[in-house]
Amino acid sequence: MLATLVVAGLVTGAIYALVGLGLVIIYRTSQVVNFAQGDVSTLLTFVGFTLMTQWGMPYLAAFALTLVGAFLFGALVERTVIRPVASRSPIVAVGVTLGVALILNGASSWRWGTQVQSFPAPTTATGITVGGMTVSGASLVILGVTALSVALLVVLYRYTRIGISMRATSEDSPAAELMGIDVRAMAALSWGMAAVLGATAGMLVSPAITLTPNQLDLVVIRSFAAVVVGGFTSTVGAVVGGLFIGVVESVVAGYAPADLTNIAMFAIVLIVLVFRPQGLLAGEETRKSLV
């Protein structure tokens, strides 16, 4: 049973990681905690849903087109509502993201209704069986796509000019600007990438939990917990934190009284905040920026 719980926790944790990565990417370049990440993801998932079920597009084509739209949408949000308040206190931008969240939630309800919708699964394959335990095809897709996303991010940040420019912007924006880096473009890029990750998470998890305008509310809360544990400036931390929170949630719920699940998870978050507020895998500089 433990192995089953751990695998289920890793699959759920991969979703938390994808959403958490979006939070981290935006925080690194904009110093904004994006409370709209869940509603951006949900809205874009509905777009994918429309392409697949109403326009009749093949799954992969609709998935890819949604990601392209997600990137443009994320960049548009940055350009139209975040950039105008970027020079003001970060709390203003955080407030703006809350407003964006409410607007997008209302838009999803208005456009697609509030009833439960069925989102197509990426695969109906049975999956693999190891030691009597079956891991479904959909779960393998979630794990695979998350691994691929992390790998692409690592390559982007370490080996490409754009990625290095994004890192420079996150570490010292004025200095990066003096070096000729277009920091505004980097911010738009990061918001676009975060939207892509959010849309990916939404489209992967929806077949399992059904599609509604508020489907990701609890996922986003768990993802925040994951990012706090891993570190708000660490992409690796977001992934490790997501997987960690997913496994803890699964194992505790499997063995302990259910009320202890939340207590266990948020006790971990509190302990991390008290003893290592920058997160387990983030650098010391985060402590300063968070304070």
Binding site: M1, T4, L5, A8, G9, V11, T12, I15, L102, N105, G106, S109, G113, T114, Q115, V116, Q117, S118, T134, S136, V205, A208, I209, T210, T212, P213, N214, Q215, D217, L218, V219, I221, G246, E249, S250, V251, V252, A253, G254, Y255, A258, D259, T261, N262
Partner: protein, 403 residues
């Protein structure tokens, strides 16, 4: 300094006077039996409902009720009275419900609250609604707090969740011949009331649940909960929670190779939900309901009205059908009140509703209110989902006495 103090005291006094006037006006209306919310032949009705937030799936209940009142208006209303149905968005958040209730009563001047949505919401507004005395007819909750003890202005139609949970356990034992019962439930007032009924019925028979497993609304990973159910050896699982989790629960069971019989309440019986679940699990699922099948011939007006006023809402779902049925109960009570030419009043409506005994229309069955009983539906039937259609597998059966 002294001037400042005087100004503050004056302001506080002014606010107090205003509040007294507003609140006093409302309570006087109740005491004297006059009718706020009635302007000529237009009657304003109100409901709080989640137009946004975690439970927007329940909004279609209010849309079903609204369709009923619009359909009624389009057919001449009742004795010439027409209805205006006002919604207040409380986001299914009990912290916001009292303000939504105040808005409906004090700003919109509703004559009655009809089909107000949500267990936590109705419980949160209970104190205010009881104090003001405005009729609350057909609240969308089965929380026993609304009906036990009886409150003169609150009339629930649907069975309370504790009684419904007991009914499900009774059906499992007597009709499905279940040997071992487990419950998976949403960890809030809704789920806890349901599991309470199951446990009480089992206790009446000298039995215990194999296990009771809670979950939080919004949970993604149900594997741990399903593993517990499976480990308990239960051959029947009763599910108590809102609609969306029903899909991952049954999918999770399929993934773990667990195939018990399932019992759930009517809101889970939505084609859009059931079509997402492996057929092997759906074929083992039973749903209890007091609302007739939306596909019944007698529900033709409902289907036509939904197609006309809310074409985007799936009328085959029980959610809007429930709103429609509840609105029909208010409408029947209102009709009885004004039948002899009486003016609408709160006390008149309460008296008319209490006079409904073994009342049936196309949407409710054997409804009975009395001065000592404000919970109307006395029976439920059970259905299954087969080949894309709901079919009754057990007729209306009396609800067990559990309180």
């Amino acid at each position: 300094m002294k001037r400042q103090k005087t100004a503050i005291m004056t302001l506080l006094l002014g606010l107090l006077v205003c509040a007294s006037l507003v609140f006093g006006a409302v309570t006087r209306a109740s005491a004297q039996g006059t009718a706020p919310g009635v302007s000529g032949k237009e009657v304003t009705l109100g409901a709080w409902t989640p137009e946004s937030g975690l439970a927007t799936v329940l909004l279609s209940i209010s849309q079903g009720a609204d369709a009923y009142f619009r359909w009624s208006n389009d057919h001449g209303g009742i004795n010439g009275y027409h209805f205006k149905f006002v919604l207040a968005n409380d986001q299914y958040n009990p912290a916001l419900t009292p303000a939504a209730a105040r808005r409906l009563v004090e700003v919109d001047k509703a004559f009655a609250i009809v089909t107000a949505v949500g267990t936590p919401s109705n419980v949160a507004a209970l104190s205010y609604i009881s104090r003001v005395g405005i009729p609350n007819v057909g609240p969308l909750t089965g929380d026993p707090a609304l009906t036990h003890p009886v409150r003169k202005n609150i009339f629930t139609v649907m069975p309370d969740y504790t009684t419904e949970g007991a009914f499900q356990a009774q059906f499992a034992l007597d009709n499905l011949h279940s040997k071992s019962l487990a419950v998976i439930y949403q960890n809030d007032a809704l789920g806890k009331s349901g599991v309470d009924g199951v446990v009480k019925l089992l206790a009446q028979r000298g039995l215990k649940a194999a296990t009771t497993v809670p979950y939080d609304l919004g949970t993604v990973n149900f594997t741990p909960m399903i593993a517990r159910l499976k480990a308990s050896g239960a051959d029947t699982v009763i599910v108590w929670g809102s609609v969306p989790p029903f899909v991952p629960i049954l999918k999770g069971a399929q993934a773990l190779g667990y195939q018990p019989k399932w019992l759930a309440y009517l809101f889970d019986a939505a084609p859009a939900v059931l079509d997402q679940i492996p057929p092997a699990q759906v074929s083992n699922a039973y749903f209890d309901s007091w609302v007739p099948l939306p596909s019944d011939a007698a529900m033709a007006a409902y289907r036509e009205a939904m197609a006309k006023y809310y074409p985007q809402v799936t009328s085959s779902s029980f959610l809007p059908a429930t709103g429609w049925a509840l609105a029909s109960v208010f409408s029947s009570g209102f009709s009885r009140m004004v039948a002899g030419g009486a003016e609408p009043s709160w006390s008149g409506l309460e008296g008319a509703l209490e006079g409904m005994h073994d009342f049936s229309n196309a949407y409710v069955h054997g409804l009975t209110f009395a001065p000592d009983n404000h919970q109307g539906e006395p029976a439920e039937y059970v259905m299954k989902y087969e080949s894309g259609k709901f079919v009754k597998v057990a007729p209306y059966m009396p609800l067990p006495a559990i309180h």
